[in-house]
Amino acid sequence: MPGTPSIQRPTQHQFNPYSDNGGTILAIAGADFSIIAGDTRQSEGYNIQTRYAPKVFRLTDRAVLAVNGFAADGNMFVKKVKQRLEWYRHAHAKDMPLRAIARLIQTMLYAQRFFPYYVYNILGGIEEDGSGAVYSFDPVGSYERETCRAAGAAQSLVQPFLDNQVYFKNQVPPPGRAHPTHLPLRDVLDIVIDAFTSATERHIEVGDGLEMYIVLAKGRTLQGVEAAQEISARTDGERVFVLRRDLKKD
C-alpha cells in the first residue's frame, strides 16, 4: 500500500478482555404484566462452565433486568445498577420508576462507550401508568420501548418466532376479526417456554434451566400460574414472581 511504512511489526498476541458466555434472554410485555426470562447455562466455547448462573435479576418490585453477553461485565453491570437504585431509594424514599431505570441504564452504558460492557440488556416491568413494558438496549446504550424482544446466542432463532406469535407477522386474521392487541398471561408463558425449548433443541449454548420472572401490575393476580414463587418486597403494589423450568442438559 502506498504511504504505509515498509517496516512490519511482528504480530503480537494481544490480551482480549472480552469473552462470550452464550445463553439467551427474552422479555414480553402484556397489558398489565410483563415476563422476563433467561436460560441458566453459562458457557465458553464448547465448555459448559455451569448449569446454573442466573441472567435475570429483580431490581425493584416493578423492574426486572436480564443481561446477556460477557458474564463478567454483566454481573458487574447489574451490581452497579442495583447500587444506583439503592442510592435513589435512600435519596427519595421510593423505588425508581421503570422509564427512569431505562434512561439510567442508557447513561451507564454510554458512559463506557469507549470500553463497553459487552452486554445486551433487556429491562422489563410495569410502567407508572400500570402497563407492561419492555425496554431493550444495545451494549453502548441505544434503547427503545417494545412489546417483545429476544437477545443473545439464540436471538436469531427466537425473535422471528416472537414476531410471528406476538406481533402476528405473516398471519392473516379470521375474516371479520382482528388480531388481539394484548395476549393473556397464560399464552405469553406458553410462548416463552416454547421459545426456550425450541432454542435449546437447535442451539448448543442454550439449555439446562429456564428462569421466568413475572411482574404484575398493581391489583392484578397470577390467575392460574400459582406455581410461581413470589419475591416481591411488598404485596400491596406491583408484584414479582419467579417460575423455574428444566431445559435439556445436552
Binding site: 490480551f15 472480552y18 462452565q49 455451569t50
Partner: protein
C-alpha cells in the same frame, strides 16, 4: 518550569492571546511524565505455568486437587510446587496459569487477612464467599486495566455449615457449580466429575471423593502433557482446612507393551 506561557492560564492582561485563539488541543503538555511508562511490562502471556485444578462438593464439604508441577513451556521446570493455598480458617484456593501471578495473589490475600482479621480483631472472619468476591473484583479490575493476572482460580470452603465452591479467571468471569475444573481438566476431568458427583453431592463420603479425585488426576496425567504424577488434595470441612503432603499417583503402563502404533502400522 513550564516554558510555554499558554499553559500558565489566563494572562493578567489581555496583551497575550486575548481571545483564547490558541486551540486547546495544540497546547503542549508539559506536565510531569513517567519516563518509564513505555517500558512497563504487563503480563501478556503466562511464563511458568501450572495446569488443571479440580474441585468437587461432597457430604462433609469440598475437596480440591492439583498436581505439583510448574512448567516452563513444555519443560517440567519445578516439580514440587504447592498450588493449593489455605486462606484463613475456612477457605482453600487452587490456581492454574501463571505461577508468579499466583504467588502475588497469595501475598495479597495474606495481607488482606492480616488487615481484616488480625488488625481489625472484631470477631468477624473472612469465609470462602468473601475471598471469592474479593478475588473476582481484583481479577476483573486488573482485566479492565488490560493488565490481567493470568490465572484460573478455584475457591472452595465451608463456613457456618455452608459449603461454597466457585471459579474466577483472568477475565473476571465467575461461576459456581458442584464440580469445577480449570484448564485441560475442564475438557478431560469435568465430564468425569459431573458423571460421578452431579445430583448426589450429599451421598459422597470422603473416601469416595478421594477416589473420584485420584481417578480424574490419573486420567489427566495420562493425557495432559503438562501434568505430573505428584499431587496434593485439600479438604475443607466443618473441622477446618487440611492440605495433604504431596503424594504419588499409582499408574499402570503395562498396556503400552502391546501397542504397535496406530493406523497403517500393524506390526
Amino acid at each position: 518550569m513550564d516554558h510555554f506561557p499558554t499553559n500558565w492560564g489566563r494572562p493578567r492582561n489581555d496583551a497575550f492571546d486575548a481571545y483564547n485563539t490558541y486551540p486547546f488541543h495544540v497546547r503542549p503538555d508539559n506536565g510531569p511524565r513517567d519516563a518509564f511508562a513505555d517500558n512497563v511490562q504487563r503480563t501478556q502471556q503466562p511464563i511458568v505455568t501450572g495446569t488443571s485444578v479440580l474441585a468437587l462438593k461432597y457430604k462433609d464439604g469440598i475437596m480440591m486437587a492439583a498436581d505439583c508441577l510448574a512448567s516452563y513451556g513444555s519443560l517440567a521446570r519445578f516439580k514440587d510446587i504447592q498450588r493449593l493455598h489455605e486462606v484463613g480458617k475456612f477457605t482453600v484456593i487452587g490456581a492454574s496459569g501463571d505461577m508468579s501471578d499466583y504467588q502475588y495473589l497469595q501475598t495479597t490475600l495474606d495481607e488482606l487477612l492480616i488487615s481484616e482479621e488480625i488488625t481489625a480483631a472484631d470477631g468477624h472472619s473472612l469465609g470462602p464467599v468473601e475471598i471469592h468476591e474479593y478475588l473476582s473484583r481484583l481479577m476483573y479490575g486488573r482485566r479492565s486495566r488490560l493488565n490481567p493476572l493470568w490465572n484460573s482460580i478455584l475457591v472452595g470452603g465451608v463456613k457456618d455449615g455452608k459449603s461454597f465452591l466457585a471459579y474466577v479467571d483472568l477475565l473476571g468471569t465467575t461461576y459456581s457449580s458442584s464440580t469445577l475444573a480449570t484448564g485441560y481438566g475442564a475438557y478431560i476431568a469435568q465430564p468425569l466429575l459431573r458423571k460421578a458427583v452431579e445430583g448426589r453431592e450429599m451421598d459422597i463420603d470422603e473416601n469416595e471423593a478421594r477416589k473420584i479425585m485420584t481417578d480424574c488426576l490419573r486420567v489427566l496425567f495420562y493425557r495432559d502433557a503438562r501434568s505430573l504424577n505428584k499431587y496434593q488434595i485439600a479438604t475443607v470441612t466443618d473441622s477446618g482446612v487440611a492440605i495433604s503432603p504431596s503424594m504419588e499417583l499409582g499408574t499402570q503402563w503395562g498396556f503400552a507393551e502391546g501397542i504397535r502404533g496406530y493406523g497403517a502400522q500393524t506390526q
